[in-house]
Symmetry: C2
Subunit: 356 residues, 2 copies
């Protein structure tokens, strides 16, 4: 399925469970409107009655809690802007085409999230000193089709280490100033700033504080990659977003006038670091030119950029690329790392256009 | 492929890489002769020149070592008897038939192993106090076909926690009093007593002492199962052998004379514990009768048993079962646990025979 909706601004990758991405060529603002923010579902969207909903906090805590929605809303709130990218975004650019939802460029968005800092809830529950990980469980559940898989239905679950949990994780009930919609995790979703979207568990119903790291399905079999130690590959959960720049315009296959000044633009982001440079190539990476960064740096939010491209006088095909560097010294690789499977696709993505 | 070799005593499951099992109905001794001991290979058997072979010990050690075969043979040796069962043994009894080598009852054997205690080698290398796991890497290597898989060729690797490493792990160079054959891991294989065979790495070439647990392919994706914590399945490496009794005779489909005294026999084993009882049913588990345990208890070795079965006067089909209990209070389950996938098949296996 590949049906455009919302006047071509969203692309439906799968209807059941719902998986839709923004048409990235329509990027036109720092904040992604909620109705244009990608939706990634593993299972059917759960129907939740907020009157009976409780957020359970249990495990290695002195005072297990079961917070009602009203109680959570009464706690001190915080608003932050955070970019979430699906760990499988841009999978469609891999050859041969791997299994999994075939995301192009739009499984990424940048929104304002309002909610209660996880640290405040953990403080109220009196987290024990022995704790090392905090596990989030959503109400969404279903069966995994392919082995190795647990028997029966499982709930979507993910964990973060305690230092991250206490630093900046948010239990969000608002997105861009309005209640979360069911597709975005109503009534409450986790926001893990700087991490790929799979960590920001939607439809949150249970927080389990754990004295050992968690090795659930969605961080060992799925949403994990191979990291090398002494040459030996080890299975490691996907966490922080890797540095990446994406070109919104021109889009793949766009026809661009020859010998003109064309405004190229897009966004770039990188986990906890901030974007230092974005460079543009119009010859498949042979030469590079600095793009302008727009606006000021916001932690955990993407950085918009633009570049005035003097298009060539000669008609023909051109391969455009964008390449970012960040404040931690990261740069985008030129090739996809096969140890990441069909995740963490952050190499310089070629955008082929026609100059006419 | 299902070709009998060695006069029907071995069954070839796969020729390349070599995977053969004992025809369990031929069980006739406490010690399994080496040529009737099952062979499990993941990759082609490596050709190793013992003159240039070195065993490297590295990682969290004060004195990294590279021991020659001669040096290893000069160290004080120890001999122990240990049963090794392939973690996928009896997979053929599962319905529907899962992927993977279709082992029946014979991917298990009991042998005498001679070699150097791993503890002595770790002492010589001066293992650091920060160490938590010891990783073994074999010379066998190849590509994994199915994702999630690391890129390129990988070497077979497995780890044990340090307490197990220091307790009773052996670096074996002899099996049943003779040099290891290439199929059994020449020049040196690890023996991890009480654990499934996948831990006893063959063609050992490297020991890496690690300050973190190891999450290699063969203990996260393969040779792992789902353990439940608060209802949440977690991926856990397969380690100790679970309690199990197998019937050697009669075999599936055997024709047994009516109204006679038939000598049933077989073997039973259980990780670190010793077998307390074996019970036999001739009515698919409705009623049970105690079998006799043969010989005395040997740590980590299987326990042979026999039972005089008064076969019924009425002809017809009968379903036989054996069920063991051990000194730690374990008993065999009646059903396979689907969270174990196609591994740890230790439920009471039905043996259907015909009384005539």
């Amino acid at each position: 399925m590949n049906t455009d909706t919302l006047s071509g601004q969203m692309i439906v990758r799968e209807a059941e469970p719902l998986n839709i991405e923004m048409s990235f060529r329509t990027l036109d603002s720092l904040i992604t409107p909620s109705e244009r923010f990608f939706v990634r579902c593993h299972f059917p969207i759960p129907e939740i009655d907020v009157k009976t909903w409780r957020l359970k906090i249990e495990g290695s805590v002195e005072k297990p809690l079961a917070l009602s929605y009203t109680e959570l809303r009464q706690m001190e709130s915080r608003t932050l802007t955070a970019t979430l990218e699906c760990a499988g975004n841009s999978r469609a650019s891999l050859t041969p085409q791997p299994k999994g939802t075939s995301w192009e460029l739009g499984a990424v968005g940048n929104a304002e999230w309002t909610g209660v800092p996880l640290a405040a809830v953990l403080e109220r529950a009196e987290m024990k000193a022995s704790a090392v990980h905090v596990i989030f469980t959503g109400s969404d559940q279903g069966e995994i089709a392919e082995p190795p898989r647990p028997a029966g239905e499982i709930q979507y679950s993910r964990s973060v280490p305690c230092d991250k949990a206490l630093k900046d994780v948010l239990l969000a009930y608002q997105m861009n100033g309005e209640e979360l919609t069911p597709a975005h995790g109503f009534p409450v979703r986790v926001i893990v700033p700087g991490w790929y979207g799979m960590a920001s568990v939607k439809w949150l119903e249970r927080i389990i504080v754990s004295d050992t790291p968690f090795t659930g399905y969605f961080q060992t079999i799925d949403y994990a990659f191979w990291d090398r130690r002494d040459g030996l590959p080890e299975r490691v959960p996907i966490t922080e977003m890797r540095i990446k720049a994406e070109i919104a315009r021109p889009h793949i296959g766009e026809v661009v006038p020859a010998a003109t000044a064309y405004r190229m633009h897009g966004a770039a982001w990188s986990g906890d670091a901030h974007i230092m440079t974005v460079d543009i190539s119009d010859d498949a990476g042979a030469t590079w030119h600095a793009a302008r960064l727009l606006g000021s740096f916001m932690p955990n939010a993407w950085q918009l950029w633009e570049h005035t491209w003097q298009t060539p006088a000669q008609p023909g095909r051109r391969t455009l690329m964008a390449r970012a560097t960040d404040s931690c010294g990261h740069a985008q690789p030129s090739q996809h790392d096969d140890d990441c499977g069909s995740y963490l696709v952050n190499h310089c993505l070629p955008i082929e256009v026609e100059v006419r």
